[in-house]
Symmetry: C2
Subunit: 235 residues, 2 copies
């Protein structure tokens, strides 16, 4: 199955918008100043979708100048209980949140319903997302970014079983499936779950280059080569 996927990935890469990281056009050199990655956490947030990009981004500080400073932001300073039951103390709330270069929205239990009615949260995401260099969603975090207007005019993906619901809720969007992630300008959307590592590794490569990405990967027992992943980069 994996062999088939690899072959499919390569064929797809030559016939559509998918490409390997060798084709990345980086607008500038890797930044030497520290970037900030703010992770939105609410009750019911899924652990893996939070932790995968959190770890990948945090480990950059050991392999490049500057690197990425990671922190969590919650609606208030109350302890967050994740979907799986972990109790996390947020670093910041919406009123104390520092500037964010990379806004990360992991999925939560209610990302497709009641969280979308939380206007304070959606407003925060809209405000910070518009200022950020990158907006990253994992799994159903795409619903939150879409509700916040940050997917308008862009192509995206979400958790495989929720693609239909996503399309119904946001019928104007171009939605992909069967790819680990989609990168469209400032927006990166991932299927989530264990695939949450892929999009974060890719973004590290986009920002800092292949060598740094490979070092970060090694620390997490990932033999990073983007040719082994299926993803779409929208030109």
């Amino acid at each position: 199955m994996k062999t088939f996927l690899l072959i499919f990935g390569i064929l797809f890469a030559t016939s559509c918008t998918t490409k390997t990281s060798n084709d990345y056009a980086r607008d500038s050199e890797a930044p030497s100043e520290t970037l900030s990655a703010g992770f939105l956490i609410v009750d019911g947030v899924y652990n893996s979708e939070l932790i995968a990009p959190f770890d990948i981004f945090q480990h950059t500080i050991f392999h490049t100048d500057g690197g990425i400073r990671v922190f969590t932001v919650a609606p208030n300073r109350d302890t967050i209980t994740t979907f799986e039951g972990l109790k996390i103390i947020p670093d910041f709330d919406f009123t104390t949140s520092p500037p964010i270069d990379i806004l990360v929205v992991p999925s939560a239990e209610n990302s497709m319903d009641t969280d979308l009615e939380n206007s304070e949260m959606i407003n925060y995401v809209t405000t910070m997302g518009k200022r950020a260099k990158f907006n990253v969603s994992l799994c159903d975090g795409a619903f939150v970014l879409a509700k916040a207007g940050l997917v308008d005019g862009k192509e995206s993906t979400t958790f495989p079983s929720d693609v239909e619901r996503y399309r119904q809720m946001f019928p104007e969007l171009i939605v992909h499936e069967n790819v680990s992630f989609v990168h469209d300008g400032s927006l990166l959307t991932s299927q989530g779950g264990i695939k949450s590592y892929d999009v974060a590794m890719y973004l590290v490569e986009v920002i800092y280059g292949r060598e740094v990405a490979k070092k970060v990967g090694k620390g997490l027992v990932i033999d990073w080569d983007p040719a082994n992943y299926q993803f779409i980069v929208v030109k």
Copy 2:
């Protein structure tokens, strides 16, 4: 690279002790009572090594009777700061820890040095590990299990870059490398990092069977088939 690894895995499986899960000899039917998985957390614990098995085990409750109840145990009730900076409130401390069927020891920043001198912690691991059905280490958590005497006479693995140090510190042990994990009786040791998902998925299959494991995998965007992983089961 992946194609090569798959082929290597298959060859290895036929010539050595690796095998697919079709060969598992389960002593009994899947348990219908809830099992407990206690995760040892200390300051400097690595997020991914904690979260990967935490999520895999926790998600079993949606796919089988009973399933696995997960909780964290720390030396005391103080907030734990992980290696990557997440602040976690432990569920239990050593004096309040409930019985544990699956003892999980993720790596921490000092798993190879000062943590091993923490006799209270090592004694706790020894005591709980001897009573547990399974002891699981991720990454350098193997050093803690070995120090606690739970690897005695068993084969194991650890984080790739730390294999040499592991061998030097515990020269009497049979240590494997270049495999995702090693299963030897009650002991399961993983390379760690993203591979931490593999060993947890495997143990879910050992306990609950392939169908449950595939459902758990689907929720985390893992297309679970143990034939795609390299591991060693010691007879």
